[in-house]
């Protein structure tokens, strides 16, 4: 028996796959879904009444941020520091910590399932995946060929985050210039073991903004991360960090 659930939330869809369902775990899926909507209500930059929007529009002081938002901003600051400023919880001058929040939401969903006793599940938040147990086989979408895969990675406790322009256009901006980076179609980061999606996803956003050369060299320096970059170059579309093979199948 496998429990699956797909939930439309945060402008995308979160897909749950639980290989060890039980009444307690099924209840945890429902709790996780509720949690996703609660996160959206507080952090969505598209909802006028969210805490993030109210601060972004000056209706609320950043100093009065909820403890939850304050902690998110703290984590964002860490990622910004770790990526030499290539990640930012601001977009065009306005508060928008979405680069952290979506992966963090997936991570929290997994935590709820773990607390309920599940040791075998996979949660996909709009294309960013955290899995527990396994082995799992995670396909990486090919931006050249919609519906096809660029590669497949497999392993236990896999975390796979992809940033790219294929689905939503140029929505990632270089925090330094405010412009959309053009050197990559997509950049995928893979980690396993103790890695969690919130940070990995934020790193993927930063590495995408860095572009292929800087992004890959940055990823190469992170011992827990491997990267696959897909470039808008038909002659040599894919490049990967030296250890990427250990995840590929």
């Amino acid at each position: 028996m496998i429990t699956r659930h797909a939930e439309h939330v945060m402008g995308t869809v979160f897909s749950f796959m639980v290989r060890d369902p039980s009444p307690a775990v099924d209840e945890a899926v429902r709790a996780a879904v509720a949690r996703l909507h609660a996160i959206d209500a507080r952090f969505s930059p598209y909802r006028a009444d969210s805490e993030v929007s109210r601060i972004a529009h000056g209706e609320r002081e950043l100093a009065d941020a909820s403890p939850e938002l304050a902690e998110v901003l703290e984590r964002c600051a860490e990622v910004a520091q770790q990526t030499d400023g290539w990640f930012s919880p601001y977009r065009e001058g306005r508060l928008d910590p979405s680069g952290w929040v979506k992966g963090w939401a997936v991570q929290q969903a997994c935590e709820l399932l773990c607390e309920a006793g599940s040791r075998e599940h996979c949660v996909n938040g709009g294309g960013d995946v955290q899995s527990v147990g396994g082995p799992w086989r995670i396909g990486v979408a090919d931006p050249f060929r919609p519906g096809e895969l660029a590669t497949v990675v497999a392993g236990r406790d896999l975390v796979v985050a992809t940033s790219g322009t294929a689905e939503r256009g140029a929505h990632i901006l270089d925090p330094r210039t405010g412009e959309a980076p053009t050197g990559l179609l997509s950049l995928t980061l893979v980690a396993s073991g103790r890695a969690r999606l919130a940070r990995t996803d934020a790193y993927a956003t930063a590495a995408f903004a860095m572009g292929p050369e800087l992004g890959l060299s940055w990823a190469e320096r992170q011992p827990e991360l491997e990267a696959l970059a897909i470039l808008p170059d038909p002659a040599a579309p894919k490049r990967a960090t030296s250890g990427f093979l250990r995840h590929a199948v």
Binding site: I2, R4, A6, H8, G11, T12, V13, S15, M17, K102, C122, N124, G126, G127, D128, V129, S131, W136, R137, I138, G139, V140, A141, D142, P143, F144, R145, P146, G147, E148, L149, A150, T151, V152, V160, T162, S163, G164, T165, A166, E167, R168, S186, T188, P212, S217, E220, P234, A235, A236, P237, K238, R239, A240, T241, S242, F244, L245, A248, V249
Partner: protein, 176 residues
Amino acid sequence: MRRAIVTTTATAAGVVLLLSLKPHGSQSASAQAPVISSGSDTSNTSNTGNTGSGSSSTGSSSSGSGSSAGSGSSTSAPSGTKSGSGSYTGTAVDTRYGPVQVRIDVSGGKVSKIDVLQYPNGQQRDQDINSYALPVLNQEALSAQSAQIDAVSGATYTSDGYTQSLQSALDQAGLK
């Protein structure tokens, strides 16, 4: 139907070949080329079900990536038979690093050996290749149907775009 032409070449369809082009002066190209097969288990068991991926040398070129995607797929006539065995020599492909040509031995439906017949060398090219980045040659488009995946990672889809996504197909398959 395209699946009709997918016979033994489909066994190679799932292969992702990663060539290490690091300039360490090694003379043994094939020895230093890490090679992995992808989805070989599934392609092995469902040769004829691999849909379009087996013929992607044509399909993928329409997206402009034909030169790399066709690296191993535009093969010479196989010396094997429909039993899933044989040796396939890919056409040489010009990458930005120089020509690359591979030969694949398929045995019992699985890729048993990949030889790199040609790979780029030369000082100038080596300098162009960053030591941290491996060019990755995808021999065929990977067919999602044959890859037996649990989830798909990709650029974030919208709630509307999800309905067209592979992840949606996976979710629906599981819900049936």
